[in-house]
Symmetry: C2
Subunit: 308 residues, 2 copies
Amino acid sequence: MKTHSAALVSILALLAAPPAAALAQAAQAQSAAGAPTSMDQILAAAPAGDWRTIDPANTLYLQLAKGRVIVELAPAFAPNHVANIKALVREGYFDGAAIVRVQDNYVVQWAAPEGRPVTGAAKATLAAEFARPYDAGLPFTPLPDADTYAPQTGFTDGFPAARDPATRQTWLTHCYGMVGAGRDNGADSGGGTELYAVIGNGLRQLDRNVTLVGRVVKGMELLSALPRGTEALGFYATPAERVPILSIRLASDLPAADRTPLEALRTDTSTFAALLQNRRFRQDAWYKVPAGRLDVCNMPLPVRAAPK
Amino acid sequence: MKTHSAALVSILALLAAPPAAALAQAAQAQSAAGAPTSMDQILAAAPAGDWRTIDPANTLYLQLAKGRVIVELAPAFAPNHVANIKALVREGYFDGAAIVRVQDNYVVQWAAPEGRPVTGAAKATLAAEFARPYDAGLPFTPLPDADTYAPQTGFTDGFPAARDPATRQTWLTHCYGMVGAGRDNGADSGGGTELYAVIGNGLRQLDRNVTLVGRVVKGMELLSALPRGTEALGFYATPAERVPILSIRLASDLPAADRTPLEALRTDTSTFAALLQNRRFRQDAWYKVPAGRLDVCNMPLPVRAAPK
């Protein structure tokens, strides 16, 4: 069977299988290919301190019939939206929510039942949180390569990001798996009542036009493989086509036994720096012309099941 | 219902619905948003001569149970691979073929039944066709924006491409929907016996490492929404999970009544130049910060049903 890269074992495979088995499998594939170093080998050698626990208080579970989609929220970039999403969840705003839109090469979007009122501490709309001043102490691991859309790109606490030295602003980037707060035409017309996940190719034109609130860290394939909607913009034509979301909950609101404990690789570590270099210059036997460059949206951001 | 862009009606929607209805719908959405010009309005104003017939002799049909996936082959870039794929198809090499691999954010790959011999005029492997000299008269409509992976990007006869003035070479780029010939570790170990379509985000590191042979021009959602494989590299774990391909045929080998006549917008026209500008600087009321830039993989390449 021909493969694009014997070395590339997906991060999701690492999560789905027992890590040791997955890594052994990767090492075997690696050895067969005669390649010197793989991403999996670099990850296997990482000290425990290079991983951080994904905070259950900033973790959203979307329970679908086929499994759990897990979103890490990004309060450092969208503090008000994240707080509001938590309030909406706790008010039961999303009870009976469904995926209403799957636009090929674009986004999957979900919403509460039509007409559902926003109650309690939650707000229907918020001021936009498109970008942040970057002198506020947000960590940033820059990529050295040119980017089409921003003066500089990189990674901040496990999220893909960009920044502009001229304005000293930083923002999250619309890469695969990023989650944002849908809005109407007004910049301040979002707030978290409708959320979308990026399933498309480099929707970077949306950067600084929508508030990004987090990233899918597990279960992305449950969204990306959904049937595409046939109406304009990928909306499902009939309510029957909508994909029910059985529940949306904060991990910290569930008993510990019902959680899915995850760790994310810190993006300010030498392990991550080694992964970046490995990804810029592929070392396995398959590649003939290493790109020597990397797009910010083309870097896997490792997540694993927390060791017991 | 909140939408990212009232103006963005997908090209697939144009194909699926009667063009007039889709355009009227787009115009209505446009008018509601109060935006000056949409891609659909530019397309609606294009003279007939800005469209070209997609040549049935260079069109591959993959018939799935759920519909037809249509691939336009690119003989200008991969003449030997395209000729070989036609020979394989005509020898019946792909009879009983199936989709064997769906790796999330990467590729969908299909193959003949294991052990199927290559017979007749077809060859099992071919010398790589990774890039072409660009003095050979290949048209190129350049994008003015910086690219992470190549000195210059643009479009050539409806395909996304890149080139390097230093080597005077040009090559097709691994954008969403592009189709390539899988290979083993040897550069010359491909040939078209296994093909893949890109469903992932900017797999540009594969450029000049695999021979690209064409692009999916219709039916992409039939591939991109397939269940992901759970084995390493997204291979299906069991033969039962594989998605049968009922037939793979050249359009020109079918009676005219069984074909799906398509037209592609010429990429060397003022219409396409206007679309590029529209896409670089979004004009509808939704966008607050127009990117002013465009990634080569982020440009829809319009295809429509041929007018009767």
